[in-house]
């Protein structure tokens, strides 16, 4: 029995004493301090080394950042990464649904696709597409279409197919995991309402699977932004190739690499923020923890975010 109880039933709320506030001395993490100091020190050494090097002309970097070729390269990087990702997502959804189909032929084809394109390097795949004319000099769809393969397989097409089809294999696994995460009771409920398989997939399963699918897809896209630099080997003029083109006739190789790295960082950062909003959109109807960016926004515009909490 506690003190308050022994005071009898007449003791109203005022009779309950304020509990004493906890004034404990927190555990001191000396190790953490040492690690922090070491890390800061090391970081400073690296930064000054770069800053002090008289081989690097830092002044050249800003102008390189905005060189026409580089700007165009950034645009092409964005173009190829977005189109290849879209292709990857479409192929991934199709392959995932096929993989889960009760039809063994359909599901084997999907399994083979994933196995082949995940099992070979994307750089090799890019080169295979680019050199497809060695195996098929002309592209022929009997009775409909015929063209010189080299004319069809432009750098863009080769990069799109190479990156997109490879991405599809990874997306297939991500989408499949998302679909499998949905409670089978959801499908029962949809079927019981008279929804057929397609409608159930489109309206019930996939929207819920999105919550599971989007975070890794965001990572895939950020990877794609960087992996698209491999498209330089098929002569696609994205950032790395653009840099190559300039660097061939200049001495500012390192500075150029620095400049395109900054562009990659800008692109990946912007898309990380976009990903956050997408995730929130698909978290509808679920309890969710507030993310870092959400808390930052809450500081800037407390009302807007507050209104989100239903």
């Amino acid at each position: 029995m506690t003190d308050t109880a022994s005071r009898g039933p007449t003791g109203g709320p005022s009779a309950v004493p304020e509990p004493e506030a906890v004034k404990a001395i927190p555990v001191r993490n000396y190790g953490r301090w040492v690690a922090a100091v070491l890390a800061v020190g090391l970081f400073a050494v690296v930064v000054t080394a770069f800053g002090r090097s008289d081989q690097i002309t830092w002044e050249a970097v800003p102008s390189l950042l905005t060189r026409d070729t580089i700007l165009l390269g950034a645009g092409y990087t964005l173009l190829i990464s977005v189109t290849a990702m879209v292709l990857g997502i479409v192929l991934g959804v199709v392959a995932a649904v096929m993989r889960l189909s009760p039809n063994p032929v359909t599901s084997s084809i999907a399994a083979f696709y994933v196995w082949f394109f995940r099992g070979t390097p994307v750089l090799v795949q890019l080169l295979l597409w680019y050199n497809l004319s060695l195996a098929f000099p002309t592209l022929t769809i009997p009775g409909i279409y015929s063209a010189d393969m080299n004319a069809v397989m432009t750098p863009f097409v080769a990069a799109l197919l190479g990156l997109g089809i490879n991405e599809g294999a990874y997306m297939a696994e991500i989408v499949r995991a998302g679909i499998l995460s949905i409670d089978p009771g959801q499908v029962d409920a949809a079927n019981a309402l008279g929804m057929d398989g397609r409608l159930t997939m489109r309206r019930i399963v996939l929207p819920q699977a999105m919550r599971v699918i989007i975070p890794p897809t965001g990572n895939e896209y950020i990877n794609m932004l960087k992996t698209s630099s491999l498209a330089s080997v098929v002569q696609f003029p994205e950032l790395l190739k653009a840099h190559d083109n300039i660097a061939a006739g200049s001495l500012a190789v390192f500075e150029g690499l620095m400049a395109i790295s900054i562009w990659y960082l800008v692109l990946t950062t912007v898309f990380s923020i976009g990903q956050h909003f997408l995730e929130r959109r698909f978290a509808r109807g679920t309890d969710r923890r507030r993310t870092l960016i959400e808390r930052l926004l809450a500081n800037i515009a407390p009302k807007r975010v507050g209104a989100q909490t239903r």
Binding site: Q186, A189, A190, L193, G194, M195, R203, G285
Partner: protein
């Protein structure tokens, strides 16, 4: 079996809403339904009781073809469930035709199975809009009426996660009713609920029964069965052991297995 004329199973007056003849179902080597015979007349409420694993859910799921039966015949409103009979031959229905059959049958699950990414109103409107492609205004009006009927007019824009179990189950009932089914199947609709929430769901079901809905209810609520049920079926080990009026079965069970089961649950 095959040679008998199955197209007009009933000779005497009105077609029963559900009619099962020797329905069998196995999962792999496990026989879960071992020849179920029963009829549910239009407007009747049939309650099904029985121990865990006796096949109650499986039988209910067979009625709307969520499970395929292996043998026997099952009709809903005079139509073979999941199959078409032409002469002596039985043809499987296409997925679209099965879906069409299911529109006539509402189902309520033990675990509610509401769509968590949709609000209450969206849950109720989804099937009439997307399956029956009815105009939005009509569907909305009907959905609001139904939600009002189950006492949730003020929860229209709420997501399922923010509702209590009892409220979720009432939404689930409204969602099934939105398709204007001729038959409602309930699979232990109150088993997942806290005791104080059971009543509100049973009230809705009782009202539905009064309105003349044909219902098959798997339940452990003997009070509900006695009061609302027109007939009671006791299932054990995949077979119907005893059936009759709820009063008779509950107060003077003829079979020892029924007595044993009732002594445990009452």
């Amino acid at each position: 079996m095959m040679s008998r004329d199955m197209t007009s199973p009933d000779m005497t007056g009105a077609e029963p809403t559900v009619r099962a003849e020797q329905v069998r179902k196995s999962f792999g080597r496990l026989e879960v339904l071992k020849g179920i015979d029963l009829q549910v007349e239009q407007g009747d409420v049939m309650c099904v009781i029985g121990p865990s694993g006796s096949g109650k859910s499986t039988f209910l799921r067979c009625i709307n073809h969520l499970e395929k039966i292996d043998a026997g015949r099952l009709w809903v409103n005079g139509h073979l469930v999941g199959y078409r009979q032409k002469g002596d031959k039985i043809y499987e229905l296409r997925a679209k035709e099965v879906a069409a059959q299911r529109r006539e049958i509402g189902m309520v699950f033990q675990r509610f199975n509401l769509f968590p990414h949709m609000t209450t109103l969206e849950n109720v409107m989804e099937a009439p809009l997307k399956v029956r492609r009815e105009p939005k205004a009509t569907v909305r009006e009907r959905a609001l009426t139904l939600l009002d009927r189950v006492g949730l007019a003020d929860k229209v824009d709420t997501y399922p996660a923010q509702l209590s179990g009892g409220q979720q189950q009432r939404v689930a009932i409204a969602r099934a009713l939105a398709m204007q089914p001729k038959l409602m199947l309930f699979d232990e609709p109150t088993s997942a609920l806290d005791p104080e929430l059971v009543g509100e769901v049973l009230d809705v079901m009782r009202q539905l029964a009064l309105d003349g809905m044909t219902m098959v209810v798997v339940t452990h609520e003997m009070g509900f069965a006695r009061e609302v049920g027109d007939s009671l079926v006791f299932m054990d080990d995949g077979a119907i052991v005893e059936q009759g009026s709820p009063r008779d079965v509950l107060s003077s069970p003829r079979h020892s297995r029924t007595r044993e089961f009732l002594s445990k649950v009452l």
